[in-house]
Structure formats: C-alpha cells, structure tokens
C-alpha cells in the first residue's frame, strides 16, 4: 500500500476498530449454522467465584452449549466457543452483565499446533485492566468445517485460533488526536 492508504487503514482501525470488531455481519440463509470462522466476541468477566462456570445454552438440549465462560482458579477467564453464529448474542448478553471489555479472535487455516486455550493480548492502544482472558475453540482448539455444513460450502476446511486480542469497551483503541488538524 502507499503511505496514505497505510495511514488511513491505521486510522480506521484505531478510531473504529471496536465497531468493526463487533459488527454483526449477515450470514445469508444460514443464520444459525457456522458459516465460517469469524470474530468471537467475549468479555472481561467480572463474574463470580473461582471455578464458576456460566453456560449459555443456546442450542438444543443434545447440542453442546454455544459457548461457556469459566473463571479459572488462577483468576484468568476461559471462553469456550462452540457455535460462532451465537457470538453476537453471547456478546450482547455479556455486555448486559456489565462486562466492559471485549474479545476478538482471529482464525487461521490448519489444525492447532497445540491443543487447548490461547491466551489473549490487549489490542494495540486498548485500555485493558481485567483478568487474563483465554479462548478455546471447540473442545481442543481445532475446528473442522465439512462439505455440506455451510451454505455453498463456504469456509470448508480446518481452522485453529491464530491469536486473540482484548478491546476495552470504553475508549479502546483510541489514543486520541488521531487526525487532529
């Protein structure tokens, strides 16, 4: 890119990154199926005690919960994601619970090199003060989308969580003076 387009992209991310990170993108025709890996929005969790698990059972009784949020004994919080399409609902629910930070994850092709949760890092410029956040995709960190599972077979393949970042909900990613003139 040119210097201008690079700067413009940086400005957009700095000023509007949280808006984009939490945009609820339409998934035509397959609203309740995992169409492709996408942003999973979670939270900082001011939730209760050690070992407490909050399960938001959005699926059928026989299905795994859409996601689960667990406070670990070391104070960190693990967000397990099973159904990506439920994330906006989960995020809204967590926001309603007074959560003031949000989680964004980035998927990449291929299986996870190491199974288990990935520890998230603060997004650049984000003012993050909550407990350490970890994300686990599926049961072991690897997600397989098979042919026939998604409309038009979009996103068929094997994916893993590449990295995840935490945004502050207030003033996150905005260092101020951007574009001031």
């Amino acid at each position: 890119m040119t210097k201008f387009t690079d700067h413009l992209w940086s400005d957009l991310v700095r000023e509007h990154g949280p808006t984009l990170a939490h945009a609820d993108r339409p998934e035509p025709g397959r609203a309740h199926l995992l169409r492709r890996p996408r942003v999973l929005a979670g939270s900082t969790l001011g939730l209760a005690g050690v070992g407490t698990a909050l399960v938001l059972a959005l699926g059928a009784a026989s299905s795994p919960p859409a996601y689960a949020v667990t406070t670990n004994s070391d104070g960190s919080v693990t967000v397990q994601i099973n159904v990506a399409s439920s994330l906006s609902q989960a995020n809204a629910k967590l926001g309603a619970m007074g959560i003031d930070e949000r989680l964004e994850i980035f998927m990449a092709s291929g299986p996870a090199a190491v199974s288990g949760p990935v520890t998230c890092t603060p997004a650049p410029g984000a003012n993050v003060s909550g407990p350490p956040l970890k994300v686990l995709v599926g049961t072991d960190g690897t997600e397989v989308i098979s042919p026939g599972q998604t409309g038009g077979n979009t996103g068929v393949g094997t994916y893993h969580l590449d990295h995840c970042v935490v945004w502050g909900d207030t003033g996150s990613g905005n260092s101020g003076n951007t574009g001031a003139g």
């Binding site: 992209w9 339409p26 025709g29 942003v39």
Partner: protein, 199 residues
C-alpha cells in the same frame, strides 16, 4: 465499450496496483479482517474515483477517508450476497461526493470524521498528486462525457472505467437494472455519434 473507453481501461489495468495482500489466504476470520480485505480491494479505485473529480490531494484524501468511515458505519448492514463490495462502496462514494459538493457550495469545510481533518505529510501529498495525474485519461474521458446527463456519465464511468458490471453499477446508483442498461446504452450511443462527428 467505446473505443476511447477501451483504451482507457487498458491503461488503467496496467496501472500499478497499490495494494498488497495481507490476508492469510483463507476466509476472513473476523469482521475486522473482512473489512480489511474490502479496504484493500477498493481503496485504490476509490481514490481514482475522487482523483477524477478533485485536483487537490487533501480533498481526495478526505473524501476517500470519509467513504471508508461511512462504510465502517454501514458494514453490519452490508450483505455480499446482494452485491459486490465495490458496488456498495461506490454507492457510498457517490453520496460522499454529492455531500462534498453541497458543503463546498455552502462554504463549509468538507469531510473530517476521522477525529478531525488529518493533514497529509509531504510524501502522502506527492503520492496523491501522482494518483491524480494517473487519472488524467479518465478525466479526459469524463470531459468528453460532459454533455451527457449526469446519470449517463455515471453509467459510463462505473462500467467502462471502474469495470463494475451493469448490475453492480445499477446497485451503486440506486436505479433498476433495466433503467441502468438503457442509460448506459444511450450514453455509449451518444459518445459514438460524437466520435464520428469529430472524425
């Protein structure tokens, strides 16, 4: 496509592409990454769109910035199954430029929603000035279209310069496909007649 438009399109295709692939090759894994791909695919052509209308690098920068800021606002509503991201962005750019013209006519400063008007540094001004120069042929074509009604000029520009399909261009301009095809056909016919009369 008219002869002059064909020549221009060839020139534009040879133009260096000022984007680099930052995607990891798979489908976007987040709205932010999806938007980044939309940005990379379109930022250069949108700069070209504004560079054909404005000779001032700062204005081109502001209008391009404003288009993407508005795109951020509307990204949650953008459905790729209903039209391409380029058509969607040109629809926004059309409104951004119209607003700019209205504001300029009213003596007000144009756009500056990225936390304010960010002055360009010398390198950026030079880059944008080169981008504006690169649009000289496009500007020439648009001047040849000057006698056409605005909707017909827009039809020629979006299809013959920007290579949108008629369906995409119709979406960008907010008109029906049938109406758009009529306008495009009429515009090309008028250009051909003008060309013959000049020959």
């Amino acid at each position: 496509m008219s002869t002059e438009a064909s020549a221009l399109v060839r020139t534009m295709r040879e133009r260096p592409v000022a984007v680099r692939a930052r995607s990891r090759g798979g489908p976007p894994s987040s709205p932010l990454e999806e938007f980044e791909q939309v940005y990379l695919r379109n930022v250069d052509v949108l700069m070209g769109y504004f560079a054909r209308r404005c000779r001032d690098p700062q204005t081109v920068a502001d209008l391009t910035s404003e288009t993407f800021v508005r795109a951020v606002d509307g990204f949650a509503r953008f459905d790729p199954s209903r039209g391409s991201d380029r058509a969607w962005l040109f629809g926004i750019a059309t409104h951004v430029f119209a607003s700019h013209c209205e504001q300029s006519a009213g003596g007000r400063d144009a756009v500056a929603r990225l936390g304010g008007h960010r002055p360009l540094d010398e390198d950026e001004i030079e880059e944008l000035a080169e981008r504006i120069d690169a649009e000289s042929e496009g500007v020439a074509l648009m001047r040849r279209c000057a006698q056409l009604p605005a909707v017909e000029r827009a039809a020629i520009e979006l299809v013959d310069l920007e290579e949108l399909t008629p369906k995409e261009a119709a979406l960008a301009l907010g008109v029906s496909r049938v109406a758009f095809r009529k306008r495009l056909s009429r515009a090309r016919s008028r250009l051909r007649k003008e060309q013959h009369s000049n020959d």
